[in-house]
Symmetry: C2
Subunit: 105 residues, 2 copies
DNA sequence: TGACTGTATGTCAAATGTGACATACGCTTC
DNA sequence: GAAGCGTATGTCACATTTGACATACAGTCA
């Protein structure tokens, strides 16, 4: 995994169980995290494309600016449920969500 | 929506806010629930295909038989996170997960 | 019939996720 | 440099999800 991505994960609050200085994720954990990163990027893309602020998106979702920021950062405290529901509410189709998830990193 | 699917949702614990006798879901809620149903079906398919019992799958996941049963039933108490993580642990690729999610109902 | 295996369903304490808030940061404009 | 706007980050009370357990249900075999 490239360094930039690792740093991004680290700063997003992903923890590692061992004492090494590298993020040591199992293949499944890595796949899950990358999947979340893809959704996070897409969420931001949709927002920027529509020229919305995070606060405006939050209002649409019935959430808060800070949570939207965390979603876009793929913060460890946000669930896949929240991200997928958010995309659907913002008008993204189920099949498009699937495409985003399937897309190779 | 066809009746069989509605019954399945109802018995899976999905609630409806109004007093009508039909499940009244917004388009986004419906898409989300169907997405979960697709994952639930796929989860069972993987298990059956490999001739595993729910208990065996539970052990692999570090979970319990009852939770696996709930996953396969797309119970309202199970998260997308749990379902997706489970599929990944069972060896399903990220892109295959995407395909399952994207697949039209 | 009873024993056994596998699945479904209800409950619960503990773990995790939530919106909201405060506040920090970065940038632009005056 | 102060004010304004948008985004990031830490915290918290409250809500939801979790594995585990008990138990019910369905099928098979002897």
């Amino acid at each position: 995994m490239e360094k930039a991505k690792k740093d991004r994960l680290k700063s997003a609050g992903w923890r590692v169980g061992d004492a090494t200085e590298f993020l040591e994720l199992s293949a499944e954990e890595a796949a899950f995290v990358e999947l979340k990163l893809a959704l996070a990027d897409y969420l931001r893309e949709i927002r920027v494309r529509n020229e919305w602020t995070q606060s405006q998106v939050a209002r649409r979702l019935g959430s808060s600016q800070s949570r939207v920021a965390k979603m876009e950062a793929a913060d460890a405290s946000v669930s896949l449920d929240l991200m997928v529901k958010s995309l659907l509410i913002l008008g993204v189709s189920r099949s498009e969500v699937g495409r985003v998830i399937a897309k190779a990193a």
